[in-house]
Every structure is written in C-alpha cells, then in structure tokens.
Symmetry: C2
C-alpha cells in the first residue's frame, strides 16, 4: 500500500484555511486507499496531549490519519494517551527518536541516569519496544523516526516491534546503501525510507515523478530484505 | 498587561473549524490589547520549522500571536528560524526546558557530552541565555517554560534574559511560596506563573473568576520582587 506523509506545518502556515485544505487531502487519500502519516510532531502532557491524540487519531476527527508523528521532549510516558488511542483504533504513533540534523545530536545522545545510563535516544527506542510487546496495545502501534543518514544505532533496531520512518534519503544525503546498512536487519516492510525534495524536484511532470518514485522504491527494495 | 495563553491542542482537536475559532479568539485578544502566548509546543527542522514560525509569528498570519511555545527535541539550534522571525518582529519564542511532569525528568536531566557535560535542560537554558545576549536578536526574544513545582535549577535563572513561563500553579500543586523559591531572583515582570484549572473551576460566574484571578496575581506579586 502506498504511504503519504503530509507535512502539517505547511498547511498550518495558512491558518484555518490551510487546515481545511489538509482535511480535503486526507479525505482524498482515504478514498484512494492510501495510508497516511500526518507529520505533525505533536507532544504535550495530560489532557493536552489527549486533545492532540483526538485531533489526529480519533475516527470522528476531520484530521484523522493512520498514524501521527510525535515529539518526546516531555517524556515517552507523557505520550501515553496518544499511544492508547492509537492502539484502540488500530492506528499508530511514530515517535521522533534519532534525528539526523546535527543540532539534535547532543540532546539525543545525552546519557540518562546522571550520565551512567543509556542515551536518551536508546532509552526512547527501548521504551517503544516495551510498549509494542506490553500486550496492552497491538504490536506495531508505536514506531520511531530515525534519520537515514546516521551511523549505527546502539539499540538493536530489529527489536523495535514497530514501523521505522527514515527521512533524509535523497536531498538530505541519505543513500540506499546507507539505509541498508542501518536498517537491513529490520523485518520486511517495517522501514519507510522517505524521499521528499529529491522526488518533488523531478516534477511537476507526472510521468517523470512516477518514474523517480519507482526507481527510489526499487533501490530501497534492494537493500531492505 | 494581561497575558492569555490559549492551548492550541483544544482548538486543533476540532480540525479546521477549531482553528478558525482560535483565529477569532486571537483577533479579539489583539483588539482588547492582551498579550497572547500560543501554547503550541511546535518544533521541527529546516523549512518545516520555518513554516511553523510563519504560522504563529508572521505579522500576516491569521494565527499570529505575541509569542509561541516550542519543543526542543530536535535541538535548540533547529529552532533558529523561529527565533529569527520572532526577533525580527519583536515577538517571542518560549522553549520548553524543564517540565514538571515526572515522565520528562530522565530525558531532561540526562547529561550531555557522553555523561560528563551539563544536563539537557541546563544546556538548553544556557543556549537560550546566549541567544538573548548574542546581539543578533533583541534581548528577551527567547524565553523558557519551567515547571513551577520543581526543585532548584542548576542554571541560574536570573541570567536567562527572557521570560519564564511557569505552569503548574494551583491544580498541579505549585504554590506561591514554591514560585518565590524558584524564581525569586528573576528580574521583575519576567516570570509568568500560570494557573489554569484552579482558576477555571471558580467559574463560570465572572465575578468569582475575576476575584480568584486577582487573588492569584497578588499572591505572585508578593513572592516575585
């Protein structure tokens, strides 16, 4: 099934009119049978994160998607209302864990437990794996965003139990070989290596776009078992 | 000047109709001369964080506010487009640094530099202070969210150079005495200790609400020089 990942910021940029346009895109995507990941990177605590969960994952919301991306600065545990709603509805939450931008590394590689514990990113990935095997939600409910341009992960990614969204292929420098090295052991079909700008720049001619997308897909299929 | 802090999630919960309602609230608040902090906790990288910045801080956006809250999991540096736009327009970015919810402490207290450096929260607070004294943006452009229920901060909060938004007073357990202990040395007028639920539960009768708000304000004025 093809997956699309609308970037919510570019709709929000235009206020309620932009959000209405996003609702129309989401409705068309559902009608076309596409899977949709709303790239919103939302996060908060308590009733606030629950409201975000309802916005993006409630079956009655005009903004409902199959999955939403979440940001964990307030802790993975603070995202629990989002995880619960996703699990109850067969949807997903994809938590940003390891980002490839250089400004994020010192925070994400900081060591928990007063410097003696695992890195923040590895603690989050282990927490995600734990949620996926907890039995309280369907396995695969919680995924992770892991940049495609990074070095090896200390956490064994094949054990995550959920989808890996791997941005950064193409314009941001990620290659099929790099994706294979990082994610080659992950279960088939669980790694979504996404190219955005490198594909879009082959448009707007539809044939060229489709050709570039097919080529990117085949390259990825070659490196992901 | 009174400050209001609409919680964006509760509007987004209702899709584009909710966002349109928020636009109306923001317009009324501007007309009434209130300062508005949009509590959105947005964050991303590159052109995406720039789009969020334009949504909340561009003078032409229907969602423009005086300041917006931001989440730093992708690094303080990744928020630079938001900081730049805020600085250019005399607006503000308030970065979540120390949250009082227990699920966030292990991440925010993780130690940078392979366990030998400052905690994540202290690195961010120092980075905010550096931005405020950099001369590239007006001092006070960047503030921090610091929970009102926490113990002492290792970073000297009086040196932040920007506003401190301190949620957690009232229903979440924060008291005026606690606020005084944490923030008493901060410059006058820079600490916004906010009560939401504890005030709202005194409504909907307007007189009782106003009375409770006045009482809360006077208590805070007593502990913040």
């Amino acid at each position: 099934v093809p997956v699309i990942k609308p970037q919510v910021a570019f709709f929000e940029r235009c206020g309620s009119a932009g959000v209405a346009a996003l609702e129309a895109v989401l409705a068309e995507a559902r009608d076309a049978g596409l899977l949709v990941i709303a790239d919103a990177k939302r996060g908060d605590i308590g009733s606030t994160v629950e409201a975000y969960a309802r916005a993006w994952l409630d079956p009655g919301s005009p903004l409902r998607a199959d999955a939403v991306t979440a940001a964990p600065y307030l802790g993975l545990g603070a995202l629990q209302p989002m995880v619960d709603l996703a699990g109850a509805g067969g949807r997903g939450v994809i938590v940003v864990a390891r980002s490839s931008n250089p400004e994020g590394r010192s925070l994400q590689q900081a060591r928990t437990d007063d410097g003696r514990g695992p890195a923040v990113e590895d603690m989050l990935l282990a927490g995600i794996a734990e949620l996926n095997t907890s039995g309280r939600i369907p396995t695969g409910t919680v995924g992770a965003v892991i940049g495609a341009t990074l070095g090896p992960s200390r956490f064994r990614l094949a054990d995550l139990g959920g989808v890996i969204l791997a941005p950064g292929v193409g314009a941001q420098g990620g290659t099929a070989a790099g994706v294979g090295a990082l994610f080659g052991e992950c279960p088939r079909g669980t790694v979504l290596a996404s190219s955005s700008r490198s594909l879009l720049t082959t448009g707007p001619e539809v044939h060229a776009l489709a050709e570039a997308a097919r080529k990117a897909r085949d390259e990825m299929a070659g490196v992901l078992s």
